[in-house]
């Protein structure tokens, strides 16, 4: 018989519709959710909206949670789907101005203040944005969230080997993106890296 940890016991309760247990579990993951959502969406307000949407979906799908011990994994998986959906929607919208795009909604926050070294980050986040969904997932989980290959594989439900391949190809794509943008000499720092 499996001994349920506290979290797993809570998750079992949450799956049955216990709101208190559900909120406790979600709250335990909130910082991580925020970090991941911000890495994907580049805007605090969009990240908060994504978390809201994730909690909503998670509550509605709580009965699909087959193994309570994987609550956190399951929740993050939903979050990644929400963020990916949002990125797709953004692409559909006509984007004219990159600055606005990174500024999030309105003038709420401009953490991509386009000056000096910040531009390198902007380019990079733009490049990550351009990756296909799988590649973007592994890049964010590995380099923004410091997850191991095994943990990523578990989260995305893929073999380790696949994750390694994706990671390799994603880095390669990012590199070629950097080379392409090099022709536009906006960022001195990157030239130094060469």
């Amino acid at each position: 018989m499996e001994i349920l940890t506290d979290a797993a016991r809570l998750a079992a309760l949450a799956a049955k519709g216990d709101e208190g247990a559900f909120v406790t579990l979600v709250t335990m993951e909130k910082k991580r959710m925020l970090r991941i959502a911000v890495s994907y969406l580049r805007s605090e307000s969009d990240a908060l909206e994504a978390i809201q949407e994730t909690v909503c979906r998670a509550w509605l799908k709580r009965r699909d949670l087959k193994q309570p011990k994987f609550f956190a994994t399951w929740l993050i998986r939903i979050l990644i789907n929400v963020c990916t959906d949002e990125l797709r929607n953004r692409k559909k919208r006509t984007v004219v101005d990159d600055v606005n795009r990174y500024g999030g909604k309105g003038q709420e926050q401009q953490w991509h203040d386009l000056a000096g070294a910040a531009a390198i980050s902007l380019d990079m986040s733009h490049a990550v944005d351009q990756l296909s969904d799988h590649y973007r997932n592994v890049i964010i989980l590995k380099y923004y969230e410091d997850m191991t290959i095994t943990a990523i594989a578990e989260l995305l439900n893929k073999p380790d080997g696949t994750i390694r391949t994706w990671l390799h190809k994603a880095l390669k794509q990012l590199h070629s993106f950097m080379r392409r943008t090099e022709e536009v000499p906006v960022v001195n720092e990157r030239n130094e890296l060469e």
Partner: protein, 458 residues
């Protein structure tokens, strides 16, 4: 340059970008994060119930906002009917979609459906309007929409109804939760959905209605012929003309209109009332056997002197007697003010200590004021309070409107497990002389006063 080096460069850039992201994370405090979680749960709870989304046009007065909090009680239709309908191809899914409204359910089981079977295909999306349930002031569209390539449902959005000349119909449109959010496996995979429009008085449905909508990338315009012969002569208006006085406030039940799909009740409030009537506790229409049909839509008028309450229809139950019942009245004292000082973020004046200014969030074009209402009791929490609706005055007496674009955002959230609500009020940005003074026209308060008013049926 070899592969490892190039990867190192990329990784270095990623790390630089990551620190940017980390800075952004620091901008979000715990409170905002917790609020997002609670709001998500609240949305989840709402979508999990057979509750519907509402599209409320701007011209409908504020009374409509409280719709979001009207509970949709479902009185199940008889399982025999439901099973019979499940055998009819195309219609079976709709039984489930409308079961929250016993009036509509009986209309369906009584074969009061106008079959259409109009199909359009555009950008790989196929839209089929299977049929409509319609009377002179309500139109329920039963449709299915799917992406034919991916074999997947695509719910209709940006829904608009117009007459033949393209003039928009005036009314409240509601449509269902997207199937992906349903807890029910059989619903999740369905392609069927329902759109419902109820017209404002005295508008009637024209002979042809155009449904304009988008689904994914495709947009559609479908002409729906309305067969008026199906409901001609079925509606009846009965005058009631009864006035009750509760706590010094006069409420007159003017008339009711009974039609196959709805019961509409017109009320007038006394011109000398010192309180604004904002709703009724547990209001319903009851027949001689105790069967009840809930009130589920409100049309308010700007001057708030009259209101129309819409109930589910008892038509197909052929009741012998009907009565309007309620447990009491929600009301707000006129002339109460909420005065706040945004510099110190303090409340200067309020009717009581149940309201607090929780925080002020700068949204760029506007400031979002978060108020909390606490110590609400069982009756209070049955509805949401929007506090104020239109204008406020600044410290020098100049009047300003609320920030338009954010005004109709669902600004009210209910906190889990507590007797508390959060209400958001958007005020335009800019230096305004303090303090700001709002007229409170919807604040918690009620009088328990059960009443029963007969509705002449014969």
């Amino acid at each position: 340059m070899n592969g490892t080096n190039s990867n190192n460069d990329v990784v270095r850039c990623l790390q630089a970008d990551r620190s940017r992201a980390e800075d952004a994370v620091k901008q979000v405090d715990d409170e905002m994060l917790d609020a997002a979680i609670m709001k998500g749960l609240e949305l989840g709870r709402a979508k999990g119930h057979p509750r519907r989304r509402w599209h409320i046009p701007m011209w409908v007065a504020a009374a409509a906002v409280c719709l979001l909090f009207v509970l949709v009680f479902s009185i199940r239709i008889s399982p025999v009917f439901a099973n019979a309908l499940r055998d009819i191809p195309g219609l079976s899914a709709f039984v489930k979609l409308i079961e929250h409204d016993p009036g509509l359910s009986s209309a369906l089981s009584e074969d009061y459906v106008q079959p259409l079977g109009i199909t359009q295909e555009n950008n790989d999306i196929r839209l089929t309007v299977e049929g409509i349930i319609v009377d002179e002031q309500r139109l329920v569209v039963l449709y299915s929409a799917e992406n034919v390539i991916e074999n997947k449902e695509v719910p209709l959005r940006t829904i608009q109804f117009t007459d033949e000349k393209g003039k928009e119909l005036r009314g409240i449109i509601s449509y269902n939760t997207p199937p992906e959010y349903s807890e029910d496996e059989s619903v999740k995979s369905r392609k069927e959905d329902v759109i419902d429009i109820r017209l404002i008085q005295p508008d009637l449905l024209p002979n042809k209605v155009k449904l304009k909508a988008t689904a994914g990338e495709a947009s559609f315009e479908v002409e729906l012929p309305i067969d008026h012969s199906r409901f001609k002569g079925l509606s009846r208006e009965v005058s009631i003309g009864k006035t009750i006085e509760v706590d010094g406030q006069q409420i007159t039940f003017v008339r009711a209109k009974l039609s196959p799909l709805q019961i509409r009740l017109e009320m007038k409030y006394g011109a000398g009332n010192t309180k604004k009537i904002s709703g009724f506790i547990d209001m319903a229409i009851e027949d001689e056997n105790g069967m009840r049909w809930r009130m589920d839509t409100v049309f308010g008028s700007k001057g708030d002197q009259s209101t129309e309450y819409l109930f589910q229809s008892s038509y197909f139950h052929r009741p012998k007697k009907l009565a309007i019942i309620s447990e009491g009245i929600y009301m707000t004292k006129r002339g109460e003010r909420l005065v706040i000082d945004l510099d110190s973020e303090q409340i200067v004046q309020a009717p009581d200590s149940r309201i607090a200014l929780q925080k002020v969030v700068d949204k760029g074009n506007y400031k979002q004021l978060f108020f909390t209402l606490s110590d609400l009791d069982d009756v209070d929490i049955q509805r949401g309070y929007w506090l104020t609706n239109d204008v406020f005055t600044d410290g020098e007496g100049a009047s300003h409107g609320l920030y338009e674009a954010a005004k109709y955002d669902p600004g009210i959230t209910l906190s889990l497990g507590s007797r508390q609500q959060t209400v958001q009020i958007p005020v335009p940005s800019g230096e305004l002389p303090q303090p700001l003074s709002f007229i409170l026209d919807d604040y918690p308060g009620y009088i328990r006063h059960p009443f029963r008013i007969d509705l002449p049926v014969e």
